[in-house]
């Protein structure tokens, strides 16, 4: 069996995933959500937004200022800033905002992000809806209106936003910009069939009853947002998405920082699934999650590593062989141009399916950006994504699987 044959099952599943995405994107629930207008929801429930901070002295002020600029009745909105024992000037920065009538600034010993979030929940007693915003992120002024609109359906217990990378500068941030645009579409589509398993830190909101019934956030292997979403799914709650609720974050600018972040996310996913939420997989509960999203998520991790390993092995073998062959004649001969002939086009099932998958991913990215009205230039960032992602992503996948298999503690930063 050739190595190429091993790739076929993964390619088949990848096409199946993309096809499912397309069909669900065109289905009525997703269409209705795309067409929903903020004017439909006149209701302005009491909202509290908790901002957990740990050593965010350079970014937290921008985060709070963006929240103060939200288009929402001031008497219905309160902000709870929680300093989780920062060792920099974060504490002083958030104290500057403490005089604002709708802002509460809290300080505590360092205990982890989830403890800061829970303290915030405890201080948001009169809020019907409680949201969270990471202290390195900021929001568009109409984002909260979009979020409360998505809560119009009584069965929606949590709502996620559309995240994007703010003004990407480094090449890795550019790659993430395109990746986040794809994720916007994914979140929109899977929310329409209640298939979300994470309510990300940047601007996710919950009805108060979620915490009353399910309890506060947990450590959850440093993936408290994922664990809470899985807990909600286990309880049969619906998690929605506000497509045009834009939240901007700063992606890790360097490779080591990016890998650290993604290893935390991936190990959080693997550990939560393997140890605490194994029952979500299978057809007993939410079929979308149990039979599709979570199994494919696991297969994507295994497949990503396997395809990367096969590709590297194949490329190295072929390169060494080609190098050995080319050395049999003067180097200039290798660069002799040959007339074009369709006969030599390298058209195989793998290349055709690969091109189809790449094109569909680019289309999803474009739709994600357009539908969420995310600013920025997508095309150059898509090219960076195409060039880099398949080389970079396996690095954190391999490290994550290795960490989980060896029981290695995962760091936050």
């Amino acid at each position: 069996m050739s190595p190429e044959t091993l790739v076929y099952p993964f390619l088949f599943l990848a096409i199946f995933f993309e096809s499912f995405l397309l069909v669900t994107f065109l289905s009525k629930p997703a269409r209705d959500r795309r067409l929903a207008s903020t004017r439909q929801a006149a209701a302005t429930p009491r909202v509290a937004i908790v901002v957990p901070c740990w050593n965010e002295e350079t970014t937290v002020a921008g985060t709070v200022e963006s929240l103060l600029a939200l288009d929402y009745p001031a008497d219905k909105l309160s902000l709870v800033l929680v300093d989780d024992g920062s060792t920099d000037r974060t504490s002083a920065v958030i104290d500057r905002f403490a005089e604002h009538p709708h802002i509460t600034a809290l300080h505590k010993e360092n205990g982890g992000k989830y403890t800061a979030m829970n303290l915030g929940i405890a201080h948001a007693k009169d809020a019907e809806i409680i949201g969270f915003l990471d202290a390195d992120s900021f929001v568009a002024s109409d984002a909260l209106r979009e979020i409360t609109t998505a809560f119009a359906e009584p069965e929606t217990m949590a709502v996620t936003a559309s995240m994007s990378i703010h003004q990407p500068r480094t090449i890795l941030q550019r790659m993430q910009y395109a990746e986040y645009a794809f994720a916007i579409t994914l979140r929109h589509v899977f929310a329409s069939i209640n298939g979300l398993y994470v309510t990300p830190g940047p601007f996710s909101f919950y009805r108060r009853t979620v915490f009353d019934r399910l309890g506060p956030f947990k450590h959850a292997y440093l993936a408290e947002d994922m664990e809470m979403a899985m807990r909600m799914q286990r309880a049969g709650f619906n998690i929605g998405n506000a497509l045009r609720a834009r939240v901007y974050t700063k992606g890790p600018p360097t490779l080591p920082k990016l890998i650290t972040q993604r290893v935390r996310w991936t190990t959080g996913f693997l550990r939560n699934i393997a140890f605490d939420y194994r029952d979500l997989i299978g057809g007993k509960g939410n079929a979308v999650l149990g039979l599709f999203v979570l199994p494919l998520g696991l297969i994507a991790i295994g497949g990503g590593i396997a395809i990367f390993a096969l590709t590297v092995t194949e490329v190295v073998q072929r390169a060494l062989h080609a190098l050995s062959v080319v050395q049999a004649a003067p180097l200039s001969y290798a660069f002799t141009p040959h007339p074009f002939s369709w006969f030599y086009l390298p058209v195989t099932a793998v290349t055709l399916i690969g091109i189809t998958l790449i094109l569909s991913t680019l289309i999803w990215m474009t739709l994600g950006k357009r539908l969420s009205r995310t600013p920025g230039r997508l095309v150059p960032n898509m090219l960076v994504y195409l060039l880099l992602y398949s080389f970079v992503a396996p690095l954190w996948l391999i490290q994550s699987v290795s960490h989980v298999a060896r029981g290695v503690h995962t760091a936050w930063r």
Partner: protein, 221 residues
Amino acid sequence: MSLFARNALIALAITVVLTGTVIYAVNYLNNARVAELSTIEDQISIDTLSLDTQFSLLESAPCDSAASSTVLTGELSDLGNRLSYAEDQLGSDNPQVIRLKQQYSLLEIRDYLITKQLAAACGTKPVTVLYFYSNAGDCADCDRAGYALSYLHNTYPNLRVYSFDYNLSIGALQTFIALTKVKDTLPAFVINGRQSYGFTSLPDLEKQFPKGALATTSPKL
């Protein structure tokens, strides 16, 4: 039926159709490649027969067919490259590839014999290389040897290189191997009737050529 189940079934149908379309497209292209190879072989076959006939008709002035013979050798070389690529794509055990290779080997032998006849009749001294290879995984240096010969042929277009798969099952080729007394130590070369085995480097291979043989052919500038 739930929306999820309905969408999953539709997605599965799309996946099957798309995969089927891709497989069909790849097969279609491969068949087109085989058809093109077959057409080229047919054309060369006609040209070879024509040259053969021309040779017989012009017994008094056989050297008039020499130019045609040179053109044919070039076409054979291009066909060999295409056949080698098709073999990579379709696999060396593909029945169509095997049939095309058999036909190609016969054309090569025929061209080699005509070249020899013309040389004898016209007093020319063409440099011919019979190259025997194997792609059964038992010839580590065959790819390098083939590449070096391609380079030599490209540099000296008048050099006549005939490549044969040593393991190809066809009577004429096996007879040809028996007549040339080439052993199964591959890669094997018969350069103007002189045998040599193995490939180390281009300079070593060039040493196997008769003195001045490469220099007297027309190098491509």
